[in-house]
Amino acid sequence: MFPETIAVAMSGGVDSSTVAAMLRAEGHNVIGLTMQLWNQRRLAGHEGMPESVQGRCCSLDDVYDARRVAETIGIPYYVVNHEERFEREVVRPFVEEYLSGRTPIPCSLCNNHLKFDQLLIVARQIGAEKVATGHYAQVAWSEQNSRWLLKRPADKAKDQTYFLFGLTQEQLSRTLFPLGGMTKPEVRELARKHGLVIAEKPDSQEICFVPGGDYKAFLDAYLSEQGSALPDAAGEMVTSDGRVLGEHSGVHNFTVGQRKGLGVATGSPLYVIQIKNETRQVVVGKDEQLYSRTLRARRVNLISVAKLPGPMRVAVKIRHKHQPAPAVIESEGPDQVLVTFDDPQRAISPGQAAVFYDGDVVVGGGWIESSS
């Protein structure tokens, strides 16, 4: 293997730091880049928002950690500012999706529009051929398909392919996931071996710009900063046959499958089974009404195949922690796919992604539009 010039997207965490150290040890010409995406102090002082956020992506602490790691392993390191694009491509869509009663996943948007788009452009502009990240996933060239493949990692518990379904062939051809064959404990061990200060740093789990995972407080604070407020999205709480049970405070307060905090009492447990944004109705019902056999996905990106030749048997994952379920996918026009599960699936939420797997190989994925 000859040395390549590789930009590593460094967040200051264990995974990406270890990637940088590994590639450096392999003799590559490594450039560390941190994307400054969000000012964690921006909403400080708004109700429900902490004064300062530590140990979070884009906090000063994380940039400090990434810089220390770069210094330890002896690579050039730079911070590139993409706050404006992040707000446009990730934060605003996130807010709009919630306001229209959907359950968005900003990490995929960030991967599609920032990490594997803008960062790749900057990386190539500054002379790198490839971008490496600390994602748990694998990328490989398939002679058979003449395509770049995205595959699940060795550590299935850390699998992040669900958030990477939007990667194009061009992006995959320039992407490295060096942790794809490793487990998290192995990564930490390697970080220790390289003497990285962040070896024991806890994993981050939450959405990077939403402190404490409290997205309602975030929506409130962000909208008030923008000089607006949560729109009045109050409406009726209804059953699936149209019976009005009461009022609700706003569609953004609910997600499909939610049981707690519905504010209505009946004999048997009730769940949100649908959110109708047009009529602002939140439809509630029994657990069994949460199950759907089909879903429609839009803005589909296919990876292992150029197009779907006909019905294809796959396993489909409908949220990050979902066990992929057997299903058949078929094309319904350009970048639109119909998914039919063998067994009905619980709480299919519009706004989330549906990602199609053939064993460990990601066939593709799209954004859930509706289910029935």
């Binding site: 400054q36 000012n39 911070v79 590139v80 500012n81 404006e84 452009i121 500054i126």
Partner: protein, 391 residues
């Protein structure tokens, strides 16, 4: 790898002569300049000698030189030492943040502040300053040379406006010192800031010139150092370094070093302007009033300045997108946008600033490197490619 440093408006390397002058004051000459004994007398003499050298560079008396920790402290001392709640202060939209954020804080403290604009060349109009005057105007603070564009402001005219109105005039001359002649009497200022590390002295030392009779409220309270205008034991090695650097700057200006510097800068600028869709931000170097001889700020349409700075750094050339203090900032340069540049044009701008240590060969190195780097960035820039195909 060959490394060329063209970011001298951010900071300059300490010249070997300056370092040699400082060296004894870290070791054998260690005394506290306020002490009665031999050791104190030794360092007191060194501090006062440095004060004379700085006074000579500025055309003032030694007693009017107050040593500070740097440019920011000197600017703050001038502003907060004079303006009281209820006073009106006039400044410009293109000041360094040491003045601009000071002015903003004054507003919070109950002062009124007028920010006069600049034209497309980055120049303040003295008539705007005159029109901004009010009965309660206490201070006019307008920089002598801008850190991002190098454009030299009409400080003498502004000084006259201030003098006619009997208003104090402060000028931040951090980017002018050592590059162009400074004479506080010609400028007619009461206060003037310089910073050591912008003229080949170390970081952490600066000067506020305070005209005799100007009553300043100190910011630091303590001993009677610096005639009670700035308490705190003197940074003797730093002050000695600043003195030596000032001495060398005076000699250099008499010798015509500024003309030589301008010739190098002009060659660099001419060659870089040969790059398609580029241009200089700020008054032309040959016009009058002019630019300091070491600075050129150039936009390259369709690129992100941040990426160009990184790409050049990886090839050994150090430049910047503007003020070092704003690195990583999301906002485009306040100086360039005040001059009327669109945000994306401001973001496509790069500052090249030369220093005494730079050579003609280094200029050639940059001339060889920048065009190909800009070309690669543009090749990979979706924005530039879109614009190119629509032309």
């Amino acid at each position: 790898m060959q490394r060329v440093y063209f970011d001298n408006n951010a900071t300059t390397p300490v010249l070997p002569e300056v370092f040699e002058a400082m060296r004894p004051y870290f070791g054998e000459h260690f005394g506290n300049a306020s002490s009665i004994h031999h050791h104190g007398q030794e360092t007191r003499a060194a501090v006062e000698h440095a004060r004379e050298s700085v006074a000579q560079l500025l055309g003032c008396r030694a007693s009017e030189v107050v040593f500070t920790s740097g440019g920011t402290e000197a600017d703050n001392l001038a502003i907060f030492g004079l303006a009281q709640p209820g006073d009106h202060v006039i400044t410009s939209t293109i000041e360094h943040h040491a003045v601009l954020n000071g002015a903003k804080h004054l507003e919070e403290k109950g002062c009124e502040v007028t920010y006069v604009p600049v034209d497309g060349r980055g120049l303040v109009d003295p008539d705007d300053v005159r029109r901004a005057l009010r009965p309660n105007t206490k201070l006019v603070t307008i920089m002598m040379a801008n850190n991002e564009t190098g454009v030299v402001q009409p400080v003498e005219e502004i000084g006259k406006v201030a003098a006619e109105a009997d208003v104090h005039f402060h000028t931040d001359a951090v980017q002018a010192a050592g590059k162009i002649p400074i004479d506080v009497n010609q400028i007619g200022c009461d206060l003037l800031t310089i910073s050591g590390h912008k003229l080949h002295a170390p970081q952490g030392v600066g000067t506020l010139y305070v005209r005799k009779g100007t009553r300043l409220e100190p910011m630091l309270y303590g001993g009677r150092h610096e005639r009670s205008r700035r308490a705190g034991t003197e940074n003797v090695p730093g002050i000695v370094g600043l003195g030596k650097a000032a001495e060398l700057a005076s000699v250099g200006l008499r010798r015509g070093d500024d003309t030589k510097m301008a010739a190098m800068r002009d060659r660099l600028e001419r060659e870089l302007l040969a790059i398609e869709s580029s241009g200089v931000n700020g008054a032309a170097a040959s016009s009058h009033p002019t630019r300091v001889p070491n600075t050129t700020n150039i936009y390259f349409d369709g690129i992100e300045g941040e990426a160009l700075v990184i790409a050049l750094d990886l090839k050994g050339l150090a430049v910047s997108t503007g003020a070092a203090c704003s690195s990583g900032a999301i906002e485009p340069s306040h100086v360039l946008t005040a001059m009327g540049l669109r945000p994306e044009q401001a973001r496509s701008s790069i500052r090249f600033s030369l220093g005494k240590q730079n050579t003609a060969a280094e200029v050639e190195f940059a001339i060889g490197l920048v065009p190909e780097t800009v070309a690669r960035l543009r090749e990979l820039s979706p924005v530039y490619q879109r614009a190119a195909t629509s032309r």
